[in-house]
Amino acid sequence: MSDNTTEIRAALRAILADHSSADAVLAAEPEGWNEPLWRVLDDGGFATIAVDETIGGSGGSLADACAVLHELGRSAASIPFAEHALLAGWLLSQGGWDLPGGVLTVIDDTSGLQIEAAGAGFTLSGTANHVAWAGASTQILLAAVVDGTPTALLLSTKDVQVGGGANLAEEQRRSVAVDSITVPAERTWELPADAVEQLRLRGALSRAALIAGALERVSELTVRYTSEREQFGRPIGRFQAVQRHVVRLTEMAQQAAMATTVAALNGSDAVDFFDVASAKIVAGECASGGAAAAHQAHGAIGMTKEYELGQLSRRLWSWRDEYGHESAWARELGHRLAEAGADELWPRIAAGLLAAGPQA
């Protein structure tokens, strides 16, 4: 972590303690996002961390953005940072667009849409599901390869029908229907060849970082709970069977954090497929195993809506599916590794963190 990243995390943690407390998280559920928190973070310049200063962002590295996501994950904060900054902000910067006002989001899965070139612009129809924060956004971006050209399109939410949908944590994942609208040429731009892929990788990395943050907090909660809760005359954390859950959970949290941090640090110029696929796979698997261990160690209290664990575990169960299930990433990664051949396997693993020296 650079000094910058450490500062960002410390500042955010203080804000989140006030605006993403367990009560605030519950209060935000009916709306599907935590708008008051977003306002505070937006005013403070946190909402555009890692977006180029030249287009009106706050600047910063991909690792900084992942540090923000880590903190947001820790505090179960339902805000559109990943889509707004890491994805939409980055796409806009690829076209040299200034950040427009309002919340931005992206359609990550364009498979339900038909996009056709029409004159200098494009026509668009179909439905995209699970669009994050679509009900809170003013603009929606998407990136797709149209007639062989990687292209970005900027839609106003006024021109689309935003339906329902939420993830297991009641965070907005809306359907977006488009009825054969025309996107004029001035709201589209050609992207670099690998931009669609880079966007996909950034989305996956964002969820890995959220998961790592949430697991860190789940792990803290569980250590605390098991040393306070007594049964049979002693803290349950003294029973080896319970220790097993706590240690497994810690292991999951540490692995998710390591994988995500290394992928983010390596991704300063371009995000790497191997790194992100690995981080998403590891984080997804750890989300499953970690949540299970935490619930088992907590007993019934963990199943109550007010208790913080549930806020985090519902997100863990959702985020592991978003931007590609870990199984899909694993198949793709395995396919590429097999194509590269056995002799390339170890060198790829041992490439590890590319920056020299410890990232304290």
């Binding site: 250590v223 040393s227 954390g237 080896q240 220790q243 097993r244 706590v246 240690v247 810690t250 292991e251 540490q254 692995q255 954090a257 390591m258 994988a259 941090t261 290394v262 640090l265 191997f274 790194d275 696929a277 690995s278 981080a279 796979i281 590891v282 698997e285 870990e326 199984s327 990433w329 694993a330 198949r331 793709e332 990664l333 395995g334 396919h335 590794l337 097999a338 194509e339 051949g341 056995a342 396997l345 170890w346 060198p347 790829r348 693993i349 041992a350 590890g352 963190l353 590319l354 920056a355 020299a356 020296g357 410890p358 990232q359 304290a360």
Partner: protein, 378 residues
Amino acid sequence: MRFIPTGLSAQELQLQREVREFVKDALPAGYRPGLGMGASRSPEFSKKLAERGWVGMAIPKQYGGHARTAVDRFIVTEELLSAGAPLGAHFVADRQTAPAIIKFGTDWQREFFIPKIVAGECWFSLGMSEPDAGSDLSSVRSAATRVEGGWLLNGTKIWTSGAHRNHYFAVLCRTSPSEDKHQGLSQLIVNLRGDGVEVRPIPFLNGAHEFNEVHMTDVFVPDEMMLGAEGSGWQQVTSELAYERSGPDRFLSTFGLVKYLIAERATGGLTPEQERAVGQLVARFWTIRQMSLSVARTIDDGGAPAVEASLVKDIGTRFEQRVIDVIRDVVEVQLDLDSNSTFEQLLAESVLTGPSFTLRGGTTEVLRSIVSKGLRNV
């Protein structure tokens, strides 16, 4: 609990390249790889490595070591393990005994043993376990009594890997009775070929001769072979175990399964299930390696990441076993140790030896106690 991600410097990357080249030359084309530190042993290979300065790397120069870092040692070790190289002869002496002698030993011991270890010519076993003392090492019964010029040692050690081939072992034994089981223990360096020492084989599950029972009857151990202060055996052994725990030998034992699955099957195309297995496992190799490397870097930076090391051992050894299950599940072959497929041989070998990964060097259960105590104390 803190794992700081770390990368390799230019010099470290250079070392990595050198080891890779060395391994390519030193292992002939048809070389049959082995499973991590359980790979075969080759005194010639150990000597060749030593000639390159890759044994006893972290030992100070004045004792013939190379004054390299823990990370340098990590790099050499992971390259050898990932190739399934025959490092069995010198591995324990290099990993465990040499650092213990440097830390606790006398000048005489350092001068006598270290140059031989660094040359890859002096091999050690570990003399801890006994029939009634496994996880609970403090209950060892082997005992030494004071005699003129030294000690008279009696007792039985068990599960002593390689005792039939190695030269010495450091025996944890009681040197004075004590109320507190952790007091009154010492370590004596014993010549495995000496008078009164009898090494009896215990066949390993795969039929190999790895384990031994070592009986010691009135073995005379001269004073200069006491390792560390009399009565400090417990502290020494526990500190020694910390070296033993978090290295690449704790997550790479079954790496060959993934590598040779690709080598042998990828030309015809892996099935989607196999691809998924490879992806899942490789993602985890990459992550765990980074954690293990982080422990080495922390040691070089003067830290004492004992709890982190235990955590990595637990993660790594359970992962080594999971690799076997996942791979076996997606290949569906009838196992045969004599198969002419390297992949299938390794898989058969893994199934037979896999349960040992989470036992040797401290069981999963015991490690978890250490970690959970560490977590409560933060």
